[in-house]
């Protein structure tokens, strides 16, 4: 017999009551009159010294009533064979997700995680299906379901453990959301297959740090029937602070030697809040620890769970500063930030035209304003009169050459040579008289320009936003060019020009911007000017981006970023000059021809791109979120719709609950308590009758004795 509320059985202790009551010599109810109580003290009730229970039958009845009542309240039920749970015996399909992010490098975490993962694998039954995925920024299958099924059932665990043994934590961030989505999809994939519909679960072995990204789960509907079991690994050390370089944006106006701003993030559970921060030298060969501080480190006070930005002065007259280190916490993996000091790019633009420099009606005036100097880029505009001979130095230095007025045929031929050699020419004829020069430049001398005068105004009607020049405007928010009115333009028939690509057309159908490839270079032809006399282009918001776009296309300035996180794809310079990448450690990696990006940023440090005119360096840093090593809030995953079956203890609790539910069900069916209560009442009735009879008997006897 089992009990739903066994605590009520403690009521059985009340049995002591009647026993003691029966042992106590019954306090007589007889009253004895006495002359005075002034010399008497009340006597305490005494236990019978004879240890003789009086009225045994009454005692038994009273005890029985109490015991039956206690049993009834404990809600007894007879255990029956549980109803077979059809899903219980079925093989499970599970995906074991092993976190390999940088935060797993913390002391003891990885070893514990691997041990836990191995334990989970060893628990797998012969019919179970298990896949193992490692994840950091992305999830990669170590053992897929196919691998698992292919292996002999006896070897599966060993096979998976072997794969697991080869795994080590990476330096990448934790994109937990992605990993969970991948795992859930892997479980959902074989739905239509012949596999049994057993329970499906994702087992997550992770340190479950607060910095894990879950955003991928927000737009994902978690498949029904897939539950998540979280095996959280606890770190030995809780104090962890990380340092990140706060990169300035491209529009930043900060001076190059201004203090560098770094952000220090302290984990929420940290025990310490005082750290040292400073520039360090490269570690000694064979050592992983950062080198000594260069110059005086600064004190960084960051309370747990907060992050603060500190301005770290750049020591003067020290070359090759590239890393900032943090000292004073327990974990080293996130204590170094790599920094490439910003440098100003320089470009030269050659303007061939008859403009007076400061004439506000001339195009050059607006061009100079468009290329105003910033701390990051300085563009030098060299103006040259159409009649003046071309200076080779100017031509060599110029990244892009603008031609606005007709030049001599020789000059035009020389410019065409430059274009063929790889320069970019932008032709913006001021009038139809430019025709012969354009013909020479394009290699089609018969080409003619005719002045067009639209009745009212013309506007750009058809723009090829696929073209790199207009790609920045492709967004619908920026793609409206109809506000720009053109009062004058030149008609150009490009049908005969080989390779000519009309990038923009006027509403009359005439080309507005034409790109003509020439050898290694290219020539852009603008059929209208931007000066106010001809159009509103110069005063529109599109002008400056368009000019910069032209300069970038010409290779004058690169938008090459220098700060990346581990795992980011590095966009290589558009000119395709980079041939190899030298990572912080190990041999250089050759790049494929015309490679647009480099993805193997596997470790933090300074990388160098070789092959260009000058080597380009970029820094790869740890994901800033990896420093947030405090555990993730318990309900965060559940809020995102992931049904979390907690740890083993929870599983035990769940099974206990199940047993309890079965108990409640059985008890409800049997309702044995009613019998016990009925029996109690019956016993009490008998007891009352017996007690009444016992009490009456002495009285009767007395009456008989004294008739």
């Amino acid at each position: 017999m089992n009990f739903l509320a066994p605590l009520f059985l403690l009521g059985g202790l009340a049995l002591a009551g009647p026993i003691i009551y029966h042992l106590v010599r019954r306090t007589t109810r007889d009253r004895t009159a006495f002359s005075s109580l002034m010399f008497l003290q009340p006597s305490p009730p005494r236990l019978s010294k004879r240890h003789r229970l009086e009225h045994i039958l009454l005692l038994i009845l009273r005890c029985a009533a109490l015991a039956l009542l206690a049993l009834g309240f404990a809600r007894p039920f007879l255990k029956q064979a549980p109803i077979i749970d059809p899903t219980a015996a079925q093989p499970t399909r599970s995906v074991v997700l092993v976190d390999t992010s940088a935060s797993m490098r913390r002391d003891g975490v990885w070893a514990a995680a691997r041990a836990r993962a191995e334990e989970i694998l060893r628990r797998a039954g012969p019919a179970d299906q298990v896949a193992v995925y490692a994840f950091d920024r992305s999830a990669t299958p170590l053992v897929s379901f196919e691998d698992w099924n292919r292996a002999a059932p006896a070897d599966r665990v060993a096979f998976a453990v072997g794969r697991l043994a080869a795994l080590s934590p990476t330096w990448a961030g934790t994109h937990l959301g992605n990993a969970l989505v991948t795992a859930a999809e892997a479980l959902a994939e074989n739905e239509d297959g012949k596999t049994a519909p057993g329970p499906r679960r994702v087992v997550l072995v992770s340190d479950l740090q607060a910095g894990a990204r879950l955003d991928a789960l927000q737009a994902y509907e978690w498949p029904k029937g897939v539950e998540l079991i979280v095996e959280a690994i606890k770190a030995r050390n809780v104090t962890n602070a990380g340092v990140q370089f706060v990169a300035d944006g491209p529009e930043s106006t900060r001076a190059a030697d201004a203090p560098v701003r770094v952000r220090v993030t302290n984990a929420a559970e940290s025990k310490r809040e005082q750290f040292k921060l400073g520039w360090t030298s490269a570690p000694a060969a064979g050592s992983t620890a950062a080198g000594d501080f260069i110059g005086e480190p600064i004190d960084a006070y960051v309370p747990p769970g907060q992050s603060r930005v500190f301005a770290l002065p750049v020591p003067k007259a020290v070359a090759g500063l590239d890393r900032i280190s943090l000292r004073g916490d327990d974990e080293d993996f996130d204590n170094t930030a790599y920094v490439i000091p910003p440098a100003q790019q320089r470009a030269t633009l050659l303007w061939i035209g008859s403009d007076v420099a400061e004439d506000v009606k001339q195009p050059l005036f607006f061009l100079r304003r468009a290329f105003a100097e910033t701390p990051r880029v300085a563009v030098q505009v060299i103006a040259s009169a159409p009649a003046a001979p071309l200076l080779p130095a100017d031509v060599e230095a110029a990244s892009i050459i603008f031609i606005a007025d007709a030049v001599s045929t020789e000059t035009a031929s020389a410019l065409r040579e430059q274009a063929l050699a790889g320069k970019t020419l932008v032709v913006a004829p001021k009038s139809a008289t430019f025709g012969p020069t354009l013909g020479t430049l394009l290699g089609r001398p018969e080409l003619a320009l005719t002045e067009a005068r639209p009745s009212n105004y013309a506007m750009l009607a058809e723009i090829d936003f696929q073209h790199p020049l207009f790609a920045p405007f492709a967004d619908p928010r920026f793609s409206d060019f109809t506000k720009i009115h053109f009062w004058k333009f030149r008609k150009l028939d490009v049908s005969g020009v080989s390779g000519a690509r009309v990038i923009a057309k006027f509403d009359s159908g005439d080309p507005a911007l034409v790109e003509v490839p020439a050898g290694k270079g290219r020539i852009y032809v603008l059929t209208s000017g931007w000066q106010p006399e001809e159009s509103q282009l110069a005063v529109s918001s599109k002008f400056v981006p368009l000019m910069w776009s032209l300069l970038e296309q010409a290779g004058g300035v690169g938008s090459f970023a220098t700060q990346y996180a581990v795992g980011d794809k590095v966009a290589l310079p558009a000119d395709g000059t980079a041939t190899s990448v030298r990572p912080p450690s190990g041999a250089g990696v050759a790049l494929a021809a015309k490679a647009a990006e480099f993805a193997a940023t596997m470790q933090p440090g300074i990388y160098q791109l070789d092959g260009g005119a000058k080597p380009l360096r970029f820094a790869v840093n740890l994901d800033a979120n990896e420093s947030r090593t405090a555990p993730l809030a318990a309900d965060e995953l559940e809020q995102l719709g992931v049904p979390v079956a907690r740890l083993k203890a929870d599983v035990a609790v769940a099974s206990e609950n199940k047993t309890l539910l079965q108990g409640i069900e059985a008890e409800n069916r049997q309702k044995l308590w009613r019998w016990f209560v009925a029996a109690t009442l019956a016993v009490l009735l008998i007891e009352s009758a017996l007690a009444g009879w016992t009490a009456r008997r002495p009285a009767l006897e007395t009456q008989e004795a004294t008739p």
Partner: protein
Amino acid sequence: MSAAPSTPALASAKLIDPQALMSIRSLELRARAVVEGFWSGMHRSPYHGFSVEFTEYRQYTPGDDPRYLDWKVFARSDRYVIKKYEDETNLRVHLLADLSRSMDYGSRGYTKATYAATLAATLGYFIHLQGDAVGLMTFDEKVREYLPARHRVGHLRQLMLALEKPAAGRATDLASPLERITSLIRKRGLVALISDFLAPLDRLERNLLTLSAGGHELTVFHIVDPAELNLGIEAAAVFEDVESARTLYIDPAAARDAYMKKFAAHTEALRAICRKLGASYQQLSTADPLEIALFEFLQQRMRRGRLFRRAGAVGTGGRS
């Protein structure tokens, strides 16, 4: 304590068992039975009671009352002689009988009140027979009945009727009857206080002192039930105070020692008060024959009489 007859004379006398005596309904008959039995025993006694008693002759001097001249002596010897004797007929005895509820207890089939009433009746009857005046005051927490000391026809009857009234009061208050009697009796006399004294004794001494100072002679009869002496109840029970109706669970086996100590202390305190005031103290168990009380009373009187004579308080109209 006189639980048994102590004197040889008394031992040889035929005493009436109180149990038998109390079964006599009439109080007067009971008193008569005791006194007459006692009277018959008295013939063999060397004592003569305190009847008019001759003491000595002395020479007549002019101014003496010629009524007291002994003419027979003059006839024989031709001398005028004055006959001198003690005159005790003017004795006034006041019986103070406690009839409170505590007296309404008895373990022998009759109560202390019955015993006390019988004692009072016996004394009254005896004194009446002697020709002395006897008065009665019954009290509980206040004075119930009062009969002034007289010696006349019918007075004894009234006294018996007053004694036969059942005990009605609840508490025992010794102070107020004593104060009352002090204010009531101006003439000196004998005050016999019959009570169980189951009340605090703190004011008793002062009240008795007032009486004593007023020239009254004091005799205290302390009536106890044999069950009160040794807590003679065997079974544990809820004891109910007959006066206050207060109840206590008492196990006599456990409580007896403490009770007896306290009771003895109380008795001793009472005895000490009596000793201090020169009052005679007599503890009477209700199992004791009443003759003992009467005998002790008389003996006490005789002793005091001798005491007085020795002190030289002599003269006509003198009293003991």
